[in-house]
């Protein structure tokens, strides 16, 4: 099956099996280094990517569903300014997740921030704590994840507000 999609800003046309999971597509066909996990349906949470700006477990998305859609992996996201907000939050909270899950945690936080950045609402804590448990890696507890997510949101709002003020 021929599939056309955009990955990290690059428009690609691939010929592959239509039921291939997205994480294997990214690993095998595109050799993207940040997606390393294939847990065979164990829902380990280490294969998160952004599909149309929303975090998804790429092992649950078949290739035919990503036709004509936009995917952002950690490789692409780590080159953006938005990533700096999250990176700074990790260092300011002195939280260091392991290399296996770092990419997924960053993209999950980015997806959460996008839900909240344009509103004045604070986090729904129960929801974020539940989201934190999606990534099964034991290197980071849910409370620390919540702290980092909150700090990232603060950084993002601050940066965007400063920019808006400068423009006006």
């Amino acid at each position: 099956m021929r599939i056309e999609l955009t990955v990290d800003g690059k428009y690609l046309a691939l010929s592959l099996s239509s039921d291939k999971p997205l994480n294997l597509l990214l690993q095998d066909d595109l050799e993207i280094r940040s997606v390393t996990s294939h847990c065979n349906g164990e829902l380990c949470g280490n294969c998160i990517v952004l599909l149309e700006g929303k975090a998804v477990l790429s092992c649950l998305v078949p290739a035919f569903e990503v036709r004509g859609r936009t995917i952002v992996t950690f490789d692409g996201f780590s080159r953006t300014r938005d990533y700096r907000d999250i990176e700074r939050a990790f260092s300011s909270c002195a939280v260091n997740p392991c290399d296996n899950c770092y990419a997924s945690r960053v993209l999950l936080i980015e997806s959460i921030i996008r839900r909240y950045e344009s509103t004045i609402n604070d986090f729904d804590e129960a929801e974020i704590l539940q989201e934190a448990e999606l990534i099964r890696c034991p290197c980071l507890d849910s409370r620390s994840f919540l702290t980092v997510a909150r700090e990232s949101l603060f950084n993002r709002r601050k940066r965007k507000n400063v920019r808006r003020t400068q423009i006006s």
Binding site: L16, S17, S18, K54, E133, L134
Partner: protein
Amino acid sequence: MYVELRSPNIHEPENMAAYNNTILNYRDTTPFLWAGGTEIMSQKDFYPALRGNIEIISLGKIEELHHFLRNDRYAEFGAMVTINEIAQAGKLVLPRILLDTINSTACRTVRERITVGGSLCTKRFKTSLASTLMILDAAIELRYMKKRMHSKWYQISRIYDKNGKLDIPEGALLSKVRIAIQQYDYQYYKTVGSPLSDPDNSLSVALVARFEQGSISYARVIFTLPSKGFIYSRDLDNLFTSIHLPVSISRYAQVESYVIDYIRENFSEIPPLQESRLRGCFHDMIRDMNETVLCYTGTPGERIQQ
């Protein structure tokens, strides 16, 4: 290089007429209906699959299956509405037990991919959403092909056999789910373990009840063992219905032994961890009911604060 040879054919109809045509064209091959794909993709042998070429009908683009409507009496959802959308849209009107069930199913990232139709039609395990909808007397619309497309409304319990095995006609499509908007005096839902990752040991319990003069006048209770099925019977409801509150120890022991006997009769053995979890959940439920009922004064219109 030869990867396309084994690639399933994907059909993405954009309306029900196109879906009918696809079904007619592949009448002999029993095409594979694809909703959210969460359950199918989490199977260990999903890819690379040993099966030969198959036809997959992806329902994601059928507009009609994404609709939902609400009036004073019920809310009606298309089968491709995600459970997260149901929780968002029905936050203020749907029974609280349903919202609890949805919220405990998975985190938001996964909930955004699980569709209501898909979660009712899983074959590998039973979801607690199906069991909660059963005690809420939800109805579903099935569409199936005879000479032409027919549709019919059923009570949700009709699409499962007594042990919870999915029992809908071959080639039928679950197109809508209708949930009555009503509240109960008491609603309880609890789940232990994850049905997606550990269906053999997880379980959930759901109960709705109405009270009248210190006793339960209406009760519906269901236990879900994801890998086996539902524990749901009129006898169990009747046992609860006649209970005087707070529940006495003798009545507690009677109902508990009924549940355990029912499981042994219908499902033979269950893992010890699951059995102890079931006893624990049952104990928590009765204790919670006793605690809340002691604060209940019984004035007309009063709802128990939980």
